[in-house]
């Protein structure tokens, strides 16, 4: 019975990954497609059946992938200051006492600001499910990465994870988010290393919902 469930979850995760709008755009990037399917499977199986080794291994690979992604798609704007930004910084420095202004509106605070902007952009669910609707990010050529109707399952999955106190997964998510935040937010395919996490949680949500309904149906019958 358990092996059937595992096969079902395997197929479900593959289906959810392949049918996601983001995957269609990955067709030319075969390596990315393969990595994302494998990592999604690892996360989904590890989360659903509590396979600690698989979860640990996929978490480790996911962090490595995020690191690679962050380095290869590094957001150069984080470390460079455009003439317009420099002008704004200078203007703002004039509003305050010079010593305080140099700390408050320095280039390093601007870098921190931009990093936070990337971080919070990656935490925006609208970007993943509604193509950034209603505030489209035209520069990023936004498109929905996942089907909007899967959002409730993501929430169910997240609730289940928190209820079970899966600290390894939560820690991995935080690490991935922190690492991906250094990548360029205008990258057309979006923050790729986050997708296996989302797909894994959605798979868990869908799987547990189906199990719940089967049990409910059995009870009723």
């Amino acid at each position: 019975m358990k092996s059937i469930s595992q096969i079902f979850l395997f197929l479900l995760t593959v289906f959810l990954t392949v049918s996601s709008p983001f995957f269609k755009r990955l067709t030319e990037e075969v390596i990315f497609s393969g990595i994302i399917i494998i990592l999604s499977l690892g996360v989904a199986l590890g989360l659903t059946f509590n396979f600690k080794k698989i979860l640990f291994l996929s978490s480790f690979l996911l962090v490595l992938f995020s690191l690679w992604f962050g380095v290869n798609h590094f957001d150069k704007k984080l470390v460079t200051v455009s003439p317009l930004e420099r002008l704004a910084l200078k203007e703002r420095q004039n509003y305050f006492y010079p010593k305080a202004a140099k700390i408050l509106f320095s280039e390093s605070t601007l870098t921190l600001y931009k990093y936070n902007r990337n971080l919070f952009t990656n935490l925006d669910f609208n970007q993943f499910f509604f193509a950034g609707r209603p505030r489209y990010r035209d520069f990023a050529l936004d498109f929905p990465k996942f089907q909007p109707y899967l959002l409730p399952f993501l929430i169910i999955g997240l609730i289940l994870i928190i209820k079970r106190g899966l600290k390894l997964f939560l820690l991995t998510s935080v690490l991935v988010l922190l690492l991906v935040a250094v990548s360029d937010p205008s990258f057309t395919l979006g923050p790729l290393p986050i997708y296996p996490l989302i797909t894994g949680v959605i798979s868990l949500g869908v799987f547990k919902s189906i199990v719940y309904f089967i049990l409910l149906a059995r009870k009723i019958c």
Binding site: E91, R92, Y95, F96, L104, Y113, N116, R117, F120, T121, L123, D124, F125, N126, F129, F130, R133, P134, R135, P148, L151, I159, I162, K163, G165
Partner: protein, 557 residues
Amino acid sequence: MLKILLIGLVLFLAVFLRIVNISETPPVYLDEASIGYDAYSLSIRSKDQYGEPWPVFFRSYANFQSPIYIYLTAVSVKILGLTPVSIRLVSILSGMVIILSTYFLIKILNPEFKFRFYTTLILTVSPWAVFFSRGAMEANLGLAIFTTSLYLIFKGLFKKRGLWLILGIILLALTNFGYHAYRLISFGTLFLLILIFYRQLSISLKKVTFLGIACFILILIPQILLLNTPGSLERFKSLEYFSTDFFQANGGELRSQFLGHYQFIILEFFGKYLDYLSLKSLFFDTDPTLVRGIPEMAVFYQWMCVPFIVGLYFLIRERVTKIRLFFILLGLISLIPAALTRDNLYELRVLPFLWTVSILISQGLTKLSQFKKFWPAIIGVVLIMSLIPLYTNYFHLLKYERNIDHSGFINDLFKYTKDRSDKKFIVSLSEPLSYGVALYIYQYDPREFEKSLNFNLENYYTDLTLKTEHNIKNLQIRQINWEVDTFEEVYLAGDEQTISRFKVEENGLEEIVIFRSPLDIRSVTIYKTNPKFKCLARLEKDKVFSSLNQRCQIILK
């Protein structure tokens, strides 16, 4: 004793943050000016600026504002005169009522002192709470009535006192007159309360609840009677995205798809709904309506993201009690009115949601301080990480970078013209509602203004047209008639869009004074006309034309 001292200090900080430099920061905005002028009119003659006695909605700029804020402001205007302080006093007091009522509400629901202390602290320093308490915002008053009603209702429920329960339900009904969004939220809240707590009520309290519901409906009768008038629906109609016209203009690819209009409505609703729940909106993005936000600052500080996530984590992990369920659902339903409007991220419409998020952040802080054990250090960190950005972004950046949005230089213009009452000014600004600021600054006699409007009061709630050209003492607010006005000795005031450089040179206008926004992005200039120059230019033009005429006649012959 220590507890009282701590709460006392936080309340002192709350008062300080809400009143410091209140008459200067921010400048009086168009909407505030209109609220102030309506209140001024009420305080003098018990009628609004149009001459309507005790309206259910105030016509204002034909946008039909909720009434309670203006009625209460009439009292402060009567006592203090028409000043920025008197216009904002109700909002400042509302901010304090929100903090106090929440403190007592949490005291009933949770005996832990730390939790209610943190809630008080978060509501004191949160950017949204400070910002909306320092401007004449009906929504802030609406939230104050709402939180007080919840306090009374829960006191009635827990102490089993029917009187508190009825008073709470009556106040809940009054929120409908406090701000438009509560016309949905109050019903939702009442429904939730009945759904979740009805079973635990004793028979006598059930009877009292029914009495309260009857009162709720009775109070709403004036609004129900006006429900079909354009005035009552105007706010929603001008903001909804259900119409075919809006879909055709904004539908994109969906316009050619099967059931595209329905898909569009669903996507708009959930997209907007989720946008308010997004961590980016809560902790990073500033309100896109620049006049409703602090530069580079969201409704909460970025650091609050951590206690928010911790609070959410424990909310999910711990047992869902009825009270928790109520607050979760309350937070979720309070987003519905905002998600039904076409504006993106309009935080003013979701204050009850921000209030519930503040409670969740406090919950997170309480949990964090249990781990650390040394909670005074957490208070110190909270204060430093909140007050420094508030000081830099609100009290400095806003003054410079949002001056235009807050009509700062329009205020300066009308103060200048008022001081020169012997001179005649024709003001033409690209902002058609600027006359509201003039009425406020001139404290123009509402009786005179009503006469000049010549408005038929029978159409008060149905006529949606707005007259934007007015004569106010030495001011004429209207478009400049270049063929007539420049032949008179007058002063013309306008911005770059209404008086171009070309017009200045063509008419020989003499620059008198410029009112610039601090960053010199926009300006209003006052010019003196030069009729002599204009007459000479006309004569020259006529000469050219007459010689041309003669030449043409020769050619034609």
